[in-house]
Point group: C2
Chain length 343, copies 2
């Protein structure tokens, strides 16, 4: 727009802009991940714009340390912004009682047992706070800002060190009777299958998550000394070092063994998703998490297995997540936004 | 747990009270079953009281004949009642496009392909009409008037000649993106299992429905000539005549083979339900249909298998349906009630 004639006008415009800035409502988004802490600030109703900060959790930290670190991130972010903080949303990487805002535990950091994180944050920030687990937050994030925009019902599935999920049903996050809806990783799909971290056998997670893919690849490399040359090269021959990412990279490079292992995991995931489609007939399924980055062929195998195990007439619309690792943080923005939405 | 009163009833009751001095509002409920037609009339807001009529479909009928027969039932019922018909609800034993009120087909009666049943009835009755399939109607019936009263989320499962289901989610019937939610009978639970009517292998229905129980019992009776004496007696030694009801009666009489066959089916059902609980964490699961009448031991085995395959912390509350074969008709009353609910 540049310089215009009237000094009075432009001065008035400046004052009104300052007023607008001081009146604008900010929302704070916090993501307590297993290994990193992220915070972002957004303007309510203008959720495309935001600033963010992120730190890695150093080893040996506890809940209180993480909380204080997160508060420093938040204060630094807010000091850069003009406006009034209106609400905060939190994604936590572990089981949460969302109704009470209480973290039940962290699988990574000690001291998170039964922590009233919502109350802690409400005291520190002086605004309403909403806390949920990372799978629900990511589902909400993908629904509001990512691959689920415009859909009334969707299942979000994240495939990384574990397998989790979250539901949007009839245009809202569905948490279930005990806040445990979406635990697709713990659907038993092979009753005689490998042991799961939950103590049962054959959960989807025990077959299709990252560590399961790596384990299966290592088993096969040990059993088939001539196979998997490209995969072996990636770990300098040290089979024990193989991760799911190595398997994925080797498969891309044409390693047959790696491709078979990855396909097997994708088929299991598709089979699990077929159960969810058969039961709930959602409009769309969004697949995120590190393993899902394996690419389009992986997703094509997932779709094929899901299609093969669902009734004709039921849509099988399975797509990649759009927000990557940021989905929970976007979801935290949505959680905060819910608190200041006029009903 | 939500409020105990049915939303539809209490809302309709309010309407009814407002118009206490004018003519009372009647709702008509119609159930097009595979072998019988049932109709009932209720007073809106007084859903405990009703009159009903029922006829068996004679062999060789078609859609038009069924429709005319149902209209005679309805006219006879309404002529006995004082009041003004306000709406009608319909349960249909086959796939329905509920949004359009169109019956897609009947597995039992010819001529039901793509029949605009809602339009037919609206023309004939002159009131708004809502049509849904029998599993959804029964879910709604059990939720409003039966074993699901007061629950915000529940899965209704019916086990008879097939296995179907319906969901109540966040206090309303959830139909899914293609109107096909709740198809628990077609969750594949044994990929190498018996052939299902849908053409795939190992669907829950192919293992746990009535005909599957009968088939399994016949297989075992043929393979084990010394076993199953009480069961054989029930069919005068003619193994081919064995039905699921015979199996259930023989099990009650202490027949070990029959009990094993029934337990096997109950475990499969519990396993399928465990998948639904893991995914959706509903407050309650209500099991209806002819096979579920096998009794408390059957249900105990279902519960055990569901509990063994779900995460600790998730409730496993599985109960018998309360309304028996009348659940779809009660559901039709609720469907009609929805139409006269003031928003």
């Amino acid at each position: 727009m540049g310089s215009s004639a009237c000094r009075l006008c432009s001065s008035a415009r400046r004052v009104s802009e300052q007023r607008r800035l001081s009146k604008r409502q900010l929302v704070l988004a916090l993501d307590f991940g297993g290994t990193k802490l992220s915070a972002a600030v957004a303007v309510a109703g203008e959720c495309h714009w935001w600033a963010r900060r992120q730190v890695l959790s150093p080893p040996g930290v506890d809940a209180r340390y993480d909380f204080e670190t997160m508060m420093s991130l938040a204060r630094a972010l807010l000091s850069d912004q003009e406006g009034r903080l209106a609400a905060a949303g939190v994604s936590f990487g572990g089981p949460v009682n969302a109704a009470e805002g209480v973290v039940l535990l962290s699988h990574h950091i000690p001291g998170w047992e039964n922590v009233p994180l919502r109350d802690w944050l409400q005291s520190a920030l002086g605004v309403p706070v909403s806390v949920d687990n990372d799978a629900n937050a990511a589902a909400l994030g993908e629904w509001c800002f990512g691959a689920g925009q415009g859909y009334d019902s969707l299942l979000y599935v994240t495939v990384s060190t574990g397998i989790g999920g979250g539901w949007i049903v009839d245009g809202r996050l569905y948490r279930g009777a005990d806040g445990m809806a979406g635990e697709i990783g713990h659907m038993v799909i092979q009753p005689e299958g490998p042991l799961c971290v939950c103590g049962r056998r054959g959960c989807l997670e025990a077959i299709a998550c990252g560590p399961a893919i790596a384990r299966r690849a290592r088993e096969r490399l040990r059993a088939e000394p001539e196979a998997g040359k490209p995969l072996r090269q990636l770990v300098d021959g040290d089979v024990e070092r193989v991760t799911a990412e190595h398997v994925s990279r080797a498969a891309e490079a044409g390693d047959e063994l790696a491709q078979q292992v990855l396909d097997e995991a994708a088929r299991a995931l598709g089979f699990g998703i077929s159960g969810a489609i058969t039961l709930m007939n959602p409009q769309r399924v969004v697949v995120g998490g590190g393993v899902a980055k394996a690419g389009e062929r992986y997703l094509e195998v997932v779709r094929g297995a899901a299609r093969a195990n669902t009734l004709p007439g039921m849509r099988v619309d399975i797509v990649s997540a759009a927000l990557g690792d940021d989905a929970p943080l976007w979801g935290a923005i949505a959680l905060a936004g819910e608190l200041i939405t006029v009903p």
